[in-house]
């Protein structure tokens, strides 16, 4: 029998300014989730969108469109609705390497704060966009890359991956722009360790619970919201990953 899962209405207690486009929204309820799981965030009158938890009582939002812009204008005392946690999340064993790009750092950040990451490779366009870098350097061996060289390695985060021995790690968790994750997958495939890679994917989602089909991927028909959002590299190497995705109407982009 299906159980009732109306959105939990929470009140915002704090809004933290992270970067010019990123804010962390803290609310008054704790959600028991595994790193890499996500929730559906309801902004009344606007939309409902998927977001990783950045803490048990927080989400970290980058402004890209209508719903994220509306979220970014909310203040202490405002209300939003939360459904979740949803999805599988990361499952780590042994020595763990994390590779994050931009806002993709969020699900990896909760993994790091749980003490689950040994080495963290973090890439962003510029130093100002390195969210959570201070906290990450406290709990992991943090290596930074910026596209413009304003901090750390001048170049892509995949360059740092080339400099280390990835085979030393039992689990390699990653989240970020799909092209970055594609670069990582290619390198793991070359070393024959793609099944150690766990990639957190981003697809357009409507229901979040595995029913509507808007997040399904080719060619296995896996649901990113329910069978994912974290998939191992051996699954992704023969999929639509890094080739295309579908928009809200189901058209390929």
């Amino acid at each position: 029998m299906i159980e009732e899962h109306m959105p939990m209405v929470v009140t915002i207690t704090k809004v933290l300014y992270e970067t010019p486009t990123i804010k962390t929204i803290v609310f008054d309820e704790l959600f028991n989730s595994r790193p890499g799981q996500f929730c559906m965030v309801w902004v009344p009158g606007v939309d409902e969108i998927p977001m990783a938890f950045s803490a048990a009582n927080a989400i970290t939002v980058m402004r890209v469109g209508d719903a994220t812009a509306a979220l970014s204008t909310l203040k202490e005392g405002d209300k939003i609705g939360i459904r979740g946690p949803f999805g599988n999340g990361f499952f780590t064993t042994g020595k763990v390497l994390a590779i994050g790009g931009g806002i993709g750092v969020t699900p990896l950040f909760t993994l790091a704060t749980n003490g689950g990451i040994d080495t963290f490779l973090f890439g962003a366009r510029t130093a100002k966009e390195l969210v959570f870098a201070d906290e990450l350097s406290d709990v992991t061996d943090l290596r930074i890359a910026t596209d413009d060289g304003t901090m750390g390695h001048h170049g892509f985060v995949t360059d740092i991956l080339d400099q280390i021995d990835a085979t030393e790690y039992d689990t390699i968790c990653t989240c970020g722009p799909e092209m970055m994750m594609k670069g990582i997958l290619d390198r793991l495939v070359v070393k024959g360790i793609e099944s150690r890679g766990q990639f957190s994917l981003h697809r357009y989602m409507k229901c979040g619970v595995g029913v509507c089909g808007s997040c399904c991927m080719d060619y296995e028909g896996l649901r990113v919201c329910r069978d994912g959002p974290v998939f191992t590299g051996d699954i992704l190497k023969n999929s639509e990953f890094a080739n295309y995705y579908r928009d809200s109407s189901g058209r390929k982009e």
Binding site: M1, I2, E3, E4, H5, M6, P7, M8, V9, M40, W42, P44, V46, D47, E48, I49, K79, G81, R83, N88, F91, T93, K206, C207, G208, V209, G210, V211, C212, G213, S214, C216, M217, D218, Y219, E220, G221, L222, R223, D227, F231, T232, D234, I235, R246, D247, S248, S249, G250, R251, K252
Partner: protein, 340 residues
């Protein structure tokens, strides 16, 4: 172990490997519990034969199809459901123009059911390329279509010369100008059916329970030349978030499906069986083998299953295990047997 269980979803072989052990354990446990009861339903339950003839002029591997709009937007997800035991699949409803659907929240699981107002998101004509590979390998793929006029229905149907059949969505309760907005008018139902019947394919007409006399709509489809009637689509419904003091769906109201509507669906199928002589595909709240039998006794020749996928993506194969047996009876022996 925990790691293995979750990631097992991604590899069919290891999925069955590791669920196997777990399932054996659960079955042993249930067997033990059931053996200690005096009546065990599954033992007396009627068993059926796998269908040998077409239903609604469509060949089906069993009596259960995936309902429209559930995991129906991509060929890959539809073939996954066929692989997981659906006897046939119905696609997401395709319309004359692409639609993004309503703003969220667009689907909320509620006690005993699902409330949705997706708003018919669909890729329109691009779906022809999407579905082509599946139509090439399966004869059990029903293309669901919607439009605002008979001409629009015909326009969409013409895009799919390889469809096994068409299902006309004259029943979605939450899309302005489409679905039940026109499907409550018997004349329009007949005209839309006629407009699609010209393509010489089986035409199933999916009708709405949101009318006073469902038999009138069923007869309109029959006169229009339909090969089967599908009932029911979702029922107009609403929930309000008390914390937010406003309706929970982005579209304010939507449609209810799942166990909560099963009794209404049974009643609709029963009425249609009295009113029409076409095969009926029963839909709404089916989640067990006993539900399938009940639908058949009300008058359904086959069923469609949607919301039950939410709790169990293996619902089709699980029901098949309970429903079929090599020594089973033909479904025809029970279809409509609840009528005087």
């Amino acid at each position: 172990m925990r790691f293995h269980l979750v990631f097992a979803f991604f590899s069919k072989i290891s999925l069955y490997d590791c669920l196997g052990t777990y399932e054996v354990f659960v079955h042993l446990l249930l067997g033990f519990i059931n053996a200690s009861r005096t009546t065990y339903n599954a033992i007396d339950m009627i068993k059926l034969q796998i269908p040998t003839e077409k239903i609604g002029d469509v060949p089906l591997d069993n009596h259960m199809l995936l309902a429209a709009g559930i995991l129906g937007t991509t060929a890959a997800s539809l073939s996954r459901m066929l692989f997981l035991g659906a006897g046939g699949v119905v696609t997401k409803s395709i319309g004359p123009e692409p639609k993004n659907g309503h703003h969220g929240p667009s689907l909320i699981p509620i006690s005993g059911g699902i409330l949705n107002s997706m708003g018919l998101p669909n890729p329109s004509q691009e779906f022809t390329d999407e579905i082509a590979p599946l139509l090439a390998v399966s004869k059990s793929v029903v293309i669901s279509i919607f439009g605002g006029t008979p001409e629009e229905f015909a326009k969409v149907a013409e895009w799919f010369p390889n469809a096994s059949a068409f299902e006309l969505n004259l029943s979605c309760p939450h899309a302005d100008g489409y679905g039940s907005a026109i499907g409550t008018n018997p004349r329009i139902v007949r005209e839309c059916t006629e407009a699609v019947k010209v393509f010489d394919k089986p035409v199933w007409v999916k009708i709405t329970p949101n009318v006073t006399d469902i038999g009138v709509i069923g007869r309109a489809a029959e006169i229009g030349g339909a090969d089967a009637i599908v009932a029911i689509n979702t029922i107009r419904a609403m929930r309000i978030s008390t914390g937010m003091r406003c309706p929970v769906l982005g579209n304010k109201f939507g449609g209810l499906s799942g166990t909560a509507v099963f009794s209404i669906a049974i009643r609709a199928v029963y009425d249609l069986y009295e009113a029409c002589s076409l095969p009926i595909i029963g839909c709404g709240g089916v989640s067990t083998a006993d539900n399938v039998l009940e639908m058949m006794m009300a008058g359904a020749s086959a069923v469609e299953i949607g919301s039950a996928v939410y709790e169990n993506i293996n619902v089709f194969s699980d029901i098949s295990k309970d429903l079929y047996d090599a020594n089973g009876i033909p479904a025809a022996e029970i279809v409509g047997c609840a009528h005087d």
